[in-house]
């Protein structure tokens, strides 16, 4: 299986924190409450929760791409 690359659009983030609740080793929030991606290429065991984070994000700020 190919790996995924995680991107988060800090402009559209509304700080709901759903991503961090789904996976706090890949997603974090900075002091302003805005999403920070800690690892753009998460390990395979995080793949499901990262996908879930993208689904839960109310602002559609998280995108997953298949990484080369």
């Amino acid at each position: 299986m190919s790996t995924v690359r995680v991107e988060a659009d800090r402009e559209s983030c509304i700080s709901a924190g759903r991503c961090m609740a789904a996976n706090s080793s890949v997603f974090d929030q900075d002091d302003d409450g805005i999403v920070v991606v800690r690892t753009t290429h998460p390990a395979p065991e995080h793949r499901d929760s990262v996908r879930k984070a993208a689904y839960l994000c109310p602002a559609g700020a998280i995108t997953l791409r298949s990484a080369p």
Partner: protein
């Protein structure tokens, strides 16, 4: 297109069971994802009961939340009060919405909220101490469910908790008013109160919570003083009635499902998932969001035309069988992995509840401390004697007598 509204089902309809949607909505949910329903003023809007359709519509930038628009649907008479028209955040579209939401984000982030947990736990214990000292019966609403969110939001905003009787009563008057005039009077009282409070904070250059922090940011462009007042009002009224009624209705639901309560008590790790299941089941606001279409929108064979209103039902989207197998069952173990956190109780899209992390934490603490301290908790009156709110969308109980 003209629609003969006389033939449409009416909205809202009262629940028969406190934690299940009204039988009329349940019937509609079985017929499809979108339905025309008639409002009190004879107009109609789209009631959305499909989960996927609700999600997509609330995330669609062609849907406006601007309550000052002439075509914005009025769901209840009280929402005709001028005070509701420019309601901060929830009633604004981008770019104003984005600017205001950004200003508030730091105070509501998951991290900030997690840091408040120990204080909220201590508060819950103090309230139980008081309840046990007084002896049974207690009114769990006024002695526990209301003071927790009310004190938390006062502290967060920097509103003196000593004024809690005033702002709690006026909030209920505002949100439960039967007429626009009643809502306006209550809203104006809160407005004047916050206006005086902000003036005092400006004078003293206070540094005690969100209101002070924002008062120092008022620049007349991105944030006017009126904006600040509206934001303070939205946080004050949004912050305690919803959460307190969710605590109360959650307790009623748990007491009626002792097997689920036992599961919860046996496994502290289950608490967050159980809270999300209770949020799903109770759907305390009954509504995920109200919007008006700015353009024609095609969705799964339906056309929502420009100017038509849309109301996404949380109680029904939360029971879409495509997402929740056996949707009417209360199941605190609903797989945390796939479904449990997709509920629509906090809405979806850019207006998704700003206070959701705070509310989740308060609920986790409230249920945990309550049942840990009073494991034999029970209703002190027959369930049939409990009086629930009628005639609106926001659910609730008037008092909750309990013994232990």
């Amino acid at each position: 297109m003209t629609v003969d509204t006389a033939l449409l089902p009416s909205y809202p309809q009262d629940r028969k069971c406190p934690y299940q949607p009204s039988p009329g909505y349940q019937e509609l949910g079985g017929e499809g994802p979108l339905h025309r329903v008639r409002l009190f003023d004879g107009k109609w809007l789209w009631l959305v009961t499909g989960h996927s359709q609700g999600r997509r519509l609330l995330a669609d930038p062609r849907m406006s939340a601007d309550r000052s628009r002439a075509d914005f649907p009025v769901v209840l008479p009280r929402f005709e009060a001028p005070i509701f028209k420019p309601l901060a955040l929830i009633g604004f579209d981008p770019p104003t919405h984005s600017v205001h939401r950004r200003l508030l984000a730091p105070d509501f982030s998951l991290k900030h909220v997690r840091a408040l947990r120990a204080d909220v736990t201590a508060l819950a214990h103090r309230l139980i101490d008081r309840i046990t000292a007084k002896g049974a019966p207690a009114d769990l609403l006024n002695d526990y469910a209301l003071p927790i969110p009310s004190m938390v939001v006062s502290e967060l905003l920097g509103v003196p908790y000593d004024d809690h009787e005033f702002f709690e009563a006026r909030t209920v008057d505002l949100l439960q008013a039967k007429s626009p005039e009643g809502a306006e009077a209550a809203g104006q009282a809160l407005w004047d109160y916050l206006d005086r409070l902000i003036t005092a904070k400006e004078r003293d250059a206070a540094d005690d919570g969100v209101i002070s922090r924002l008062a120092s940011r008022v620049d007349g462009v991105d944030l006017t003083r009126d904006d600040l007042l509206r934001i303070a009002l939205a946080l004050l009224i949004g912050g305690h009635d919803t959460t307190s009624q969710m605590i109360a209705m959650g307790v009623v639901t748990l007491l009626e499902h002792p097997d689920q309560l036992d599961l919860l008590l046996a496994d502290a790790d289950l608490v967050p998932a159980a809270v999300d299941e209770l949020l799903r089941v109770v759907s305390v606001t009954d509504v995920s969001g109200v919007r008006v279409a700015l353009e024609d929108i095609e969705i799964d064979g339906y056309t929502v035309r420009k100017g038509e209103g849309v109301l996404v039902s949380s109680s029904m989207t939360n029971r879409d069988p495509e997402v929740y197998p056996d949707p009417y069952r209360v199941d605190v173990r609903r797989t945390a992995g796939s479904a449990s956190r997709q509920h629509m109780t906090f809405g979806f899209g850019i207006h998704q509840c700003l206070g959701q992390n705070l509310a989740r934490m308060e609920l986790e603490v409230a249920f945990t401390v309550l049942f840990e301290r009073l494991p034999t908790l029970r209703l002190a009156v027959p369930r049939a004697d409990l009086a629930f709110r009628k005639g609106g969308t926001m659910q609730g109980v008037h008092t909750l007598p309990v013994a232990w």
